[in-house]
Symmetry: C2
Subunit: 336 residues, 2 copies
């Protein structure tokens, strides 16, 4: 049987495009809003604060240990909404596909998007498909944008870190970046590194139910934990100290990082969060996070200080200390 591929025609807005949408895309995300196929989705929102986020996903390879560009695209935008304290509700999916892309791969990616949407309990309500000539894009790029409502009591922002806050990380770091790199380079290891891609909205709900006064949530994706902490130190104009011996990195991940010369602090994560929590609430929040399967390796890695505002300091294992800067130079293009 001839392998079915995506043709330019599938992006024409005409007959083939309608067939692709009705046979491949719609059945995965069936819901009454999407089914109308108007120029946009229409739904009701309650009065209040809304979070709105967008991300384009260009990861290479598109399939990697632990996930694919499909679940990454759903989880990534769900997580961005969750970091705003919103309950993620509605997603858009915009596909840019290279002519000649295998239809079977598109089906697998759509299946992953469907599964990830279900886990996150989010509804894909609108979409767009463009096909570009062979060579004008590399396989497939996915944009997702999302909307969620923020409960009244929640006030999260990168500007809200307060002196004395404890800094909690929800699990071991640097796994997504190293999993993608290992797959891209064809590296094989005894203990394979698997991406941490996951939706964090249910974990966030659990944390906010325990303590509504959490100050900052951030998912350390591109640029890693090091860059995310720098962004928060700058936005809140506070100092940050983290302790190298408390930062959880799995041995196999540390092994690859050492071998290839990467600092785990700058490697992308796709299913981890950093939380800035008032000192007196830290024990309760950590306990709540540890109860969640996605937070079982959580720990406190540092605290917010009055000293050196806008900077991040790492206290090293050997007892020294150094500034952790933002990522400079691109370590890993197309990591998400």
């Amino acid at each position: 049987m001839k392998k079915e591929i995506i043709l330019l025609d599938h992006g024409s807005g005409g007959k083939m495009a309608h067939r692709l949408i009705s046979e491949t895309l719609l059945p995965r995300f069936t819901n009454p809003i999407l089914a109308l196929l108007d120029d946009g989705a229409v739904f009701n929102l309650p009065e209040g604060r809304v979070a709105f986020s967008t991300d384009s996903y260009v990861v290479d390879p598109i399939f990697f240990p632990g996930g694919s560009i499909g679940d990454l695209a759903i989880n990534g935008t769900v997580n961005d909404l969750a970091m705003c304290g919103a309950v993620p509700s509605y997603l858009s999916v915009g596909l840019i596909i290279e002519e000649g892309f295998p239809l079977s791969d598109l089906n697998a990616i759509c299946q992953d998007m469907q599964n990830a949407s279900r886990r996150a309990r989010i509804t894909v309500v609108t979409g767009d498909t463009k096909v570009v000539p062979k060579g004008s894009a590399d396989k497939i790029f996915i944009n997702t944008s999302g909307i969620g409502v923020i409960p009244n009591h929640v006030r999260l922002s990168g500007q809200n870190a307060k002196i004395g806050d404890r800094i909690l990380v929800s699990g071991s770091i640097a796994e997504h970046g190293m999993a993608v790199l290992a797959k891209r380079e064809g590296l094989e290891f005894d203990t394979p590194v698997v991406s941490d891609t996951a939706c964090l909205n249910h974990l966030v709900a659990r944390m906010l139910a325990t303590e509504k006064e959490i100050h900052v949530l951030r998912d350390p994706t591109r640029g890693g934990v090091g860059t995310a902490l720098n962004e928060i130190a700058l936005a809140s104009n506070v100092g940050i100290v983290i302790h190298e011996d408390r930062i959880p990195v799995k041995p196999e991940v540390r092994g690859i990082c050492n071998l290839l010369g990467f600092d785990p602090l700058y490697v992308a994560n796709e299913g981890r969060l950093i939380a800035f929590v008032p000192e007196n609430a830290c024990g309760a929040v950590l306990a709540a996070v540890l109860e969640d399967p996605l937070g079982k390796d959580a720990c406190v890695i540092g605290e917010v200080t009055e000293a050196h505002p806008g900077r991040v300091i790492l206290e090293t294992v050997i007892g020294g200390s150094r500034f952790v800067d933002m990522l400079t130079g691109e370590q890993l293009p197309r990591i998400c």
Copy 2:
């Protein structure tokens, strides 16, 4: 002076990415919501129905007579929201840029996005920038997603066309597609064809202020007027008749279409709308449209019939009639 170009580093999430955002992107779209630079934008919405739409723009060439990928990306999503009857309010912008792309072109595109946002009175509140290695994308792709609130009395949908409705088009057709094609192919004509790219939300507001019982609005982009009418005939399960002699096509556009073998009914428009209006309101709505600079060539091109539900019939200039099908085959890849 060395020509500045986009480097992989600009998409790293690190220092260079922050510089690109703060020097090139933020100054164009400055507003208090975007300035927070959290994982998503946060704003208040009133209770009610919300429209949410997404589109990726991959037009080639990125600059063409009458516009660029920048204003196209703003106008396109503004128009999709307007076609839902929403007042477009908030936009996201997701950029995928090829390594080596000239910074001056990015600046020009951002300037066009800024101008188009101002004209449409919409606020860009969140964004994302990815850079892919040279050869992995062709220059630049832009995704915009948008949100708008729908006034209570408005009920627009592709499913709402009613027998007896008059079909109005807001201006001459096929200009965007032919302008892009002429530029792409390096064709020159005595009277150059200029894209019709424009935001239609103010025109729609004028129409809905005149007559709230408009049944369907649609902007005939990819696939053109012919495909849009077929979609509506199918969604509403009604027949449609249009009259060839009433369909406005500028002579220079008809000339290129004839020369190159394109049917104007299938060529993309980016600043035109089709409206399905109850017969008794048609005169008032047409008068209102004609008052708007974007509607000065508006006319009624057909009507909705009980006969042949789901099909579109063209009554030709020579007195015959034929079915107008959806577009089959891709006429023009990367037209929007």
